[in-house]
Amino acid sequence: MDCKTASDLLPLYFDGELDRATSRGFEAHVDACPACRDALVALDALRQALRHEAPRFDAPGALRARVIASAAGMPTPEARQFRVALRPWMAMAASLLLAFVAGGAALAAWQRASSASAVEAQQTRDLFASHWRALAATSPIDVVSTDQHTVKPWFAGKVATAPVVRDFKAEGYALIGGRIDYVGNDRVPVLVYQHGKHLVDVFILPGGGVASDGSPVQMQGYVLERAMLGGQAVAIVSDMDRAELTRFRDLLDSQVQGD
């Protein structure tokens, strides 16, 4: 094992996340390599300092008492039985419905329609949150590349559907990389573009995305706009001005399916 590999594995070994065989290989290297040993010692010193000097705050008695009081005061299972009893019945109705309609499409559509606005609002908040979190992180990108042929394979195996990756450098929107982020419970690919000083996130939405009236949503100076990219529903989040955003959306919309 060389030093490069060992230093990559070092935090994993230190945190007990390495399998046994690799650990043994790593230990063999560390025995012979003072630099890696020092790095390991430094990590351990930091951990000891944190554990001994950064206090672990114990929950105050008042909080414990509050939780216990709330637990006692919550609606009893009897009061909730109406909702609970409804569930098996709903499940049965749902399965009957499923039996009568071809596939599950009708049910899915019904569920979507019934809560579409709530789902969309939640998803919109998720998308803004992801964008802000990425901006706040050291790097908003997991794979840094201006080459679409590098970015696309990187997603393979990490997310269910590989996104259509296009570079729009000629048009002023340069592809600078990609990352994986969460929207609701789904891991989604995110393509990151740069336009001037603006960072543009393009989220490939799961399951074709949610229905929308198509108008952009604004939040704290950032704008979210939905579009289609090569047959996939996407959401664009950026702080670009409206005209630049519209131009970018039209660019995405004009891409045809396939790669």
């Binding site: 935090p11 945190d15 996340e17 990590l43 930091l46 300092a49 950064a54 672990r56 909730r80």
Partner: protein, 183 residues
């Protein structure tokens, strides 16, 4: 009846991990009152959502709810800070200023207050502080941290590495013998 047992599970789980939950909240929010309120909110949300708990790591599930409650409070706090007019309103300006020790240190004894490590940890950006607290103090695995943060493990690893580097740098740059200069 599934609901009854789930509720019992959630109650038991919340009380068992109350210290972990409070510790996370306290490091994220910086004071006892906010941390307590956030953890209490999280318990109520967990109890309401007990029917949706689908197994898996219970501690990570609960801590994820706690963290979301904390982030919601932080978001409100940042918004209030942004909107405050500093001119002619010293009291509001005072509140809006980044708070140093006073924010966190009320109930710390002087030894802990002197601890540079704790002070630099408080000075780190939220994303690095939370991951360090979860890994080094709460001793969660990468997988559990990823579940709490709802991010990929790769992100956990890179934030952890970055957080450790930042903290290590702060400690070596300033040397443990020097008096703290307030972060």
């Amino acid at each position: 009846m599934i609901s009854t047992s789930n509720r019992a599970v959630v109650d038991e789980l919340a009380l068992r991990h109350l210290d972990a939950a409070y510790n996370l909240g306290r490091w994220l929010l910086g004071n006892e009152q906010d941390a307590s309120d956030a953890v209490h909110d999280a318990y109520l949300r967990a109890a309401r959502a007990c029917d949706t708990y689908a197994g898996g790591n219970a501690r990570a599930w609960f801590l994820a709810i706690v963290r979301n409650c904390c982030l919601a409070r932080l978001a409100v706090r940042h918004k209030e800070k942004k909107n405050v007019a500093i001119d002619g309103n010293p009291a509001a300006a005072e509140r809006a200023m980044p708070q140093g020790d006073d924010d966190v240190g009320d109930s710390l004894d002087s030894e802990q207050r002197r601890s540079l490590v704790a002070q630099y940890l408080r000075g780190l950006p939220d994303v690095y502080r939370e991951v360090l607290v979860l890994r080094e103090i709460e001793e969660l695995s990468y997988r559990e941290i990823a579940d709490v943060l709802e991010t990929p493990i790769g992100t956990v690893m890179s934030r952890l590495a970055r957080g450790r580097t930042l903290l290590h740098k702060a400690l070596t740059d300033n040397g443990p013998t020097e008096p703290p200069h307030g972060l």
